[in-house]
């Protein structure tokens, strides 16, 4: 078998880490924006018939906004761990860490996207239904909580993945 060697800390390693940051925030924001917009349109239509219920029915919008916060949390954590090259100019950030951060960002971002779409569609249908039948409010909240949990799963896995790291410092410590 020929001798295959890979550089542990190549110069291109931060590229993957930064793509993880971008993925986490941009995809989660797409989900949050979809949830906010779809629910907002539902609230506006419902409010014409039933104005006093509008403030209670802003809950789907808040839950969609929380998905954006999850993306922000993961993005801040990942980008804090992307280390600059040290004084001698050598890269300290390894490909292992870069790929871990990329996967963490994709986990959180795409889960947030999916959860945001669910919250948007359920929120839109839910607030329009609650406008006509107030007893449906608790049911709508329960469905929204299940949808929000999907984004939370992505956040949890992203936080676990972002703890994986390997440094090319003097002793190669974690």
């Amino acid at each position: 078998m020929a001798d295959i060697t890979y550089e542990t800390c190549p110069t291109s390693a931060p590229f993957f880490g930064f793509m993880g940051v971008t993925a986490a925030l941009c995809f989660a924001n797409i989900g949050a924006a979809y949830g906010t917009a779809k629910s907002g349109v539902g609230i506006s239509s419902m409010g014409v018939m039933n104005p006093q219920l509008v403030m209670r029915n802003i809950i789907p919008v808040v839950m969609a906004g929380v998905l954006g916060i999850y993306g922000l949390i993961v993005a801040v954590i990942i980008q804090g761990a992307i280390t600059t090259p040290d004084n001698t100019g050598a890269t300290v950030y390894s490909s292992f860490t870069g790929y871990a951060h990329l996967s963490a960002g994709l986990c959180c971002g795409l889960s947030g996207l999916a959860a945001g779409m669910a919250i948007g569609i359920v929120g839109d249908a839910g607030v329009r239904a609650v406008g006509q039948q107030e007893r449906l409010f608790v049911g709508m909240i329960l469905i929204l909580i299940f949808a929000e949990a999907l984004g939370l799963y992505g956040l949890i896995v992203a936080l676990i993945l972002s703890q994986q790291s390997y440094d090319c410092s003097a002793n190669g410590a974690r």
Binding site: M1, A2, I4, F15, T22, G40, G68, A75, T84, P85
Partner: protein, 182 residues
């Protein structure tokens, strides 16, 4: 590519090449593309939101002219997204410098990647924020035309939407604080 005792009869020997693919593009290109994306995608988001809101606002104001001044605030929320983009792209463009002899160090490559992804983050988040605020603003204008008390309540939804653009700005700034060329 030699046999090497492999039952498949061939062996792909150099995966190191995959790690070097991001470095086929110069750091100047990464940084400049990031700067461009920050402003370009933000403006696309702002424009998209403004035309969605504006069309509904003008249509609703035909029957209810009183809504036209108050609902300009939705248009201003969309414009703010473009302002974030221009501020960030001016900040990023200030970091572009010539490296003598194109002898890039690891720190220069790091800076290129950071500015590219910073610009992409800012642009992407502002794009979706602008569209979201535009859609909600359109709904707000039509609801306001029917019941004036709904305006302030739906504005709360727009404020949640505009927070998304701010997240992108925060991360864009934090990512590129240590990026410098030369």
């Amino acid at each position: 590519m030699s046999d090497g005792g492999n039952p498949f009869g061939y062996e792909f020997m150099n995966f190191q090449r995959l790690l070097d693919i991001p470095m086929d593009i110069s750091p100047y290109n990464y940084a400049a593309t990031g700067t461009g994306l920050a402003i370009a995608l933000s403006v696309v988001g702002a424009a998209w939101g403004i035309f969605i809101t504006g069309a509904s606002l003008l249509g609703g104001a035909v029957k209810e002219p009183r809504i036209r001044t108050k609902n300009l605030i939705s248009v201003i929320f969309c414009e703010a997204v473009a302002i974030y983009g221009i501020i960030l792209s001016i900040i990023f463009s200030g970091k572009l410098n010539i490296v003598a002899g194109n002898a890039f160090t690891n720190a220069d490559w790091y800076s290129g990647f950071a500015i590219f992804n910073g610009g992409l983050t800012v642009g992407g988040c502002n794009l979706v924020c602008g569209i979201c605020v535009g859609i909600v603003g359109a709904a707000c204008a039509l609801a306001d035309a029917q019941k004036p008390e709904l305006f302030v309540k739906i504005l709360v939804v727009e404020i949640f939407g505009s927070a998304l653009g701010l997240f992108g700005v925060i991360i864009g700034i934090v990512m590129t604080t240590q990026a410098k060329f030369g």
